[in-house]
């Protein structure tokens, strides 16, 4: 899996998160913005780059073609990868919790 030094890129993580519910391209962009509470505004070039790679790596799949719009959803392998990344990130946050306590 082409990831940034073993971890997922932020864009990959949020796209997988958004695709826990089947969505088409534009809806994924909106979902990413909502999930990140407006922090992540994903450009369309980044979105399609991520979709192409995730589909090739079988972490997402084409659910249906709604007119010209394609609806994607996460695969079981994608869900495993997402959970693993979530655990890793959570552990990283937990490891740094003392930083918040000292404020």
């Amino acid at each position: 899996m082409p990831r940034n030094r073993g971890s997922m890129t932020e864009a990959m993580y949020y796209v997988l998160l958004a695709l826990c519910k089947p969505l088409h391209g534009y809806a994924i962009m909106n979902s990413v913005r909502d999930l990140s509470r407006g922090r992540v505004r994903m450009g369309p070039g980044t979105l399609y780059g991520v979709l192409t790679r995730l589909e090739k790596e079988k972490l997402i799949q084409l659910e249906e073609v709604d007119g010209r719009r394609k609806v994607y959803s996460i695969t079981p392998a994608g869900l495993d990868a997402l959970r693993e990344e979530h655990r890793r990130l959570a552990a990283m946050v937990a490891d740094g919790n003392f930083l918040g306590e000292s404020d």
């Binding site: 082409p2 940034n4 890129t9 932020e10 864009a11 990959m12 088409h24 391209g25 534009y26 962009m29 992540v40 505004r41 994903m42 450009g43 369309p44 070039g45 980044t46 979105l47 399609y48 780059g49 991520v50 979709l51 192409t52 790679r53 010209r68 719009r69 394609k70």
Partner: protein, 401 residues
């Protein structure tokens, strides 16, 4: 933006010069020229008010299943699709921060550039292989290659070389530029905005003009040779009087020489004199003579009939002359008589290089002095030393002119 006047500009930037292309198009917009259509070789601009706009390029396959949906999403995000050059799609958006960049994650973008780098690396490898394989085959199996290049001017292979090298230059530069862009993106940095492109355009123009000049020179050389082949006599008669090369009248001085004629053939087929030229060897002479000398006999008692064939060359430089003389020796002699490809300075100290082979009544040599090279074959009763002495005189006369 459609009622202004149009202007067509050649793409001096390659389609893989992404950052430079974006800068150039943005600069053109500031000057009031807005991209209307992106062709393969020319960009069409329309004149309008000066505007600060962002141009962005993205790489994706036009036949991909997501293609239409992708273009629509880009437009819905505020990016107007202008056109494409191959896989490079060009978009435009106002210089307004409410419209996000096409690529908001440099590391993600690096995966796209990695694909381009792989493609360019493959192109470079194929380009090198495409050049090296025919070159090796020619060098191994076509002995006359060097002689063809030096004497006949060029080969089609050589003629295509400048254009081929220009394409290689573009590919290698693309590989280096995109390799740098890839490293930048992997470090989490965005592509350079407003990247200077003028130097790169100048370099492309210089290399392109050089390649075209070399190609035109080689092509005209070939064209002149082809025209000459059809317009000049195949066997021009030997003119009277002294020639730049040794002739039988110089060797058999005073004797009456009666040219031989082969019945049924061109009367000059065994007695002719031609001149030629090429870029590297601008003066060339070829003399062929076959005569009989009434009243004189071979030791066997038959009528004396000497023959002579001389190729004379004046090369552009001493280095070229050296290559030419070695190629002549290698092709004509080395295979049948390897021992005869050794230098024979004992025959004459005048020449810079001399190869002589001598049998009964037969002398053949390749001699080089400075930029002059002579290849001579003589069947007759005069000694080799005499032929070399006469050639020495010819070289001195040529050098004086």
């Amino acid at each position: 933006m459609t009622d202004g006047k149009n202007s067509r500009k050649f793409w001096w930037l390659d389609e893989w010069q992404i950052e430079e292309t974006e800068s150039w198009l943005s600069d053109m917009a500031v000057q009031g020229w807005h991209l209307l259509n992106a062709g393969k070789s020319f960009a069409l601009f329309v004149q309008g008010p000066s505007k600060k706009v962002r141009y962005r390029c993205d790489i994706f396959a036009p036949r991909h299943s997501q293609y239409q949906e992708r273009l629509e999403l880009y437009q819905a995000s505020g990016w107007e699709y202008i056109g494409r050059r191959g896989k490079l799609h060009i978009f435009r958006a106002p210089d307004d921060s409410s419209i996000p960049e096409l690529h908001t994650d440099p590391v993600e973008q690096s995966y796209i550039i990695a694909g381009l780098v792989r493609r360019l690396a493959t192109n470079c490898f194929l380009a090198i292989a495409g050049l090296a394989i025919p070159a090796v085959i020619l060098l191994l199996f076509y002995e006359r290659l060097l002689l063809d290049i030096l004497v006949d001017g060029n080969t089609p292979f050589l003629m295509a070389l400048p254009l081929y090298l220009f394409v290689m230059f573009l590919n290698f530069r693309g590989l280096i530029l995109n390799g740098r862009l890839y490293s930048r993106l992997r470090r989490g940095r965005f592509p350079v905005r407003n990247k200077p492109y003028q130097k790169s355009v100048r370099l492309t123009k210089v290399v392109a003009v050089l390649a075209l000049i070399v190609f035109a020179l080689l092509f005209s050389e070939r064209a002149i040779t082809a025209i000459n082949l059809f317009t000049t006599e195949p066997y021009p008669p030997v003119p009277p009087g002294p020639l730049p090369v040794v002739r039988l009248a110089d060797i058999e001085s005073g004797a009456e020489l009666v040219p031989a004629i082969l019945p049924g053939f061109d009367p000059n087929i065994v007695n002719h004199y031609k001149t030629g030229r090429s870029i590297l060897v601008p003066r060339q002479w070829h003399l062929k003579e076959d005569v009989s000398v009434p009243g004189r006999e071979w030791p066997s008692g038959l009528e004396y009939s000497p023959s002579l064939e001389v190729h004379g060359y004046q090369a552009r430089s001493e280095w070229v002359a050296r290559q030419l003389s070695q190629a002549l020796v290698k092709i004509d002699w080395s295979k049948s008589h390897p021992e005869r490809s050794q230098l024979n300075p004992e025959y004459s100290s005048y020449f810079d290089a001399l190869w002589v082979k001598r049998d009964n009544h037969y002398t053949s040599f390749v001699a080089r002095k400075g930029v002059y090279v002579f290849q001579l074959s003589y069947r007759g009763l005069e000694p080799s030393e005499e032929l070399l002495a006469l050639t020495e005189i010819k070289v001195q006369e040529l050098a004086r002119k």
